[in-house]
Amino acid sequence: MASLGIKNIRKTYPNGVEVLKGIDLDIEDGEFLILVGGSGCGKSTLLNMIAGLETVTEGEIAIGGKRVNDLPPKDRDIAMVFQSYALYPSMSVRENIAFGLSLRKVPKAEQDATIARVAKLLQIESLLERRPAQLSGGQRQRVAMGRALAREPQIFLFDEPLSNLDAKLRVEMRSEIKLLHKRLGITTVYVTHDQIEAMTLGDKIAVMKDGVVQQFGTPDDIYNRPVNTFVAGFMGSPPMNLIPATVRVEGGIVVTQIAAHGKQQSFSLPLRHIAPGDLPSGSPLEVLLGVRPEHMTDALRVDTSHERVTVHVDITERTGADTLAFVALGGERCVCRLNPLAPIHEHQVELAVDTRAAVLFDRATGRALTLPSR
């Protein structure tokens, strides 16, 4: 087990395309790091560079404090699980797991003991003599993890390991990976495009876009204090609502106003958690008001601190546990998470908005406004 340090990593391909533009990440021994972002953001490239499968153009990668830039993959003491599982088609499950061990000249008896231990851990004992083609998707996934586990690596690397599984199996394997990490405590880097995997598995999350880390922090940071509208829109399902609004000081308190649009009347909400003195100068400010769907709920889930406002509902979607109501605020389509029993009359519903959880973004730059008192 080891810490992982990534300092100012850049990657430029020979054709001049720059896919990573200075990445800085640090995780402690035993931590679970998630690299998340859309396709083409550079997350898989970064993982391949940690593995040693791609060269580093600039910067430094250190495992356990030791620079590994120029080490081949086999000398980095890592193990990797691939999206396609990459099981060797001509070998049995046992041979797949033993392959890496025999290449490192591990004695036969020790190999057998390792295979037995790993097979027991992942419950694949009955599959050992089968070929990959004879396994189901979930079983292949287990074997791929087994092959990685057999190495007892310093760092585990996962490249979207669950994206080829069906929804049910994905949830199962997700908790299994979490459990495994808890038991073994091996430092892990996990690439995914799925924000739920990111939120549930990670100790730290790095949200990436266009080769740049947008935000690096705990799941709580990323979810509740996104630094820009990209992170706010990427994490959470449905994502954070971004409502065009203006902010000004009125009668000693900070108030945000949302303009009328279509059937929706103009309304304003007090932002009591922001001290007037903390606001940047230049009021009224043009902002995007970031509110999570669960902070725009119906009056049944009432809390006296929530601000009330009646809005026009365009459509509703019943998910069972919640009803999602779509409303247009300030011209933007927003989602509110309502109790299924919430009274909606004539397309009108009374919302309770938790403005304390709201985040303000500069409308021009998309960056969160830094407010000293928060």
């Binding site: 020979p14 081949p72 396609s84 990459a86 060797y88 088609p89 890496g100 490192r104």
Partner: protein
């Protein structure tokens, strides 16, 4: 209606098969007749008293030019030339395909395109430069020279076959092996080769047919002692001292064609299977 269509289909197929087999049918009986019987003139009749004499003569003491040792020494030459040339060109094609798909480098696609051009160079064009090259490296008039020529000439096609097969092998397989600690050749030997069975068969059959049947390179580059069976067959049929022995000619032709026929019969099903085999399922 369906029945009639089916009957017509099978009838047509039977006709095509007969048409293809007709020469064989003429050759086999003729090779087993005595010269007297051949002179009677019935080309397709079965022999009255089958004889193996023409076969023995074709194999061991018919005259090819001034030598009268039959096809045997030349048949051996052909084997000595074909087997190493087929194996070498196939293995090198596999290695090329592996590099061109899994270890891409700058210009690897261009290199592949250039190699493809090699498939379309007519034999005649390379005769003179190749003769000069063989002379320079001291391989003229030898079986080794012929092997060299066939390997070089076959490489374009074998590379094409293996490259198109390996392009379907997921790159993550090679990455996984690298993380496991396998090097360039270990990955090739332990991961790629074991899944190359079908395309290996295709390549071997193709190369065997090409090299065994080649006449031009054989007649140009081989010395008197290293001529392949195709050249010897030509000499045998054209050597006329007195009577033209049709039965011996026929037997010799069948002997010369037998190995390729055998390869097709034994491995033919793999040939079709390999040509249609797509990506590797893993």
């Amino acid at each position: 209606m369906n029945r009639i269509a089916r009957l017509a289909l099978y009838g047509l197929l039977a006709l095509a098969a007969l048409y293809t087999l007709a020469p064989m049918w003429v050759m086999v009986p003729t090779s087993m007749k005595t010269l007297d019987e051949i002179r009677e003139g019935s080309l397709i009749a079965a022999p009255h008293v089958p004889t193996v004499e023409p076969w023995l003569k074709a194999w061991s003491h018919a005259c090819t030019g001034v030598r009268c040792e039959g096809l045997k020494p030349f048949f051996v030459n052909s084997l000595l030339m074909t087997i190493p040339a087929v194996l070498r060109s196939t293995l090198m094609g596999a290695l090329n395909g592996y590099v061109l798909t899994q270890w891409r480098f700058r210009g690897s696609d261009t290199l592949f395109t250039l190699l493809l051009v090699g498939c379309f160079i007519p034999f005649q064009v390379v005769l003179l430069p190749m003769a000069r090259t063989l002379g320079l490296v001291g391989l003229s008039d030898s079986v080794w020279g012929l092997i060299f020529v066939h390997v070089v000439y076959g490489l374009a096609f074998t590379t094409l076959l293996f490259r198109n097969y390996y392009v379907g092998v997921p790159g993550e397989l090679v990455k996984a092996a690298r993380v496991d600690g396998a090097g360039f050749f270990t990955i090739f030997r332990r991961i790629l080769l074991p899944i190359s069975g079908p395309i290996f068969m295709v390549c071997v059959i193709w190369q065997f047919t090409q090299i065994w049947n080649d006449f031009l390179f054989g007649v140009v580059f081989a010395g008197a002692d290293s001529q392949p069976v195709t050249v010897a067959l030509n000499n045998l049929v054209r050597t006329s001292t007195g009577v033209k022995e049709y039965n011996v000619d026929m037997a010799a032709a069948i002997i010369a064609a037998a190995p390729t026929l055998l390869v097709y019969i034994i491995a033919g099903k793999y040939f079709v299977r390999g040509l249609t085999a797509g990506a590797v399922k893993g």
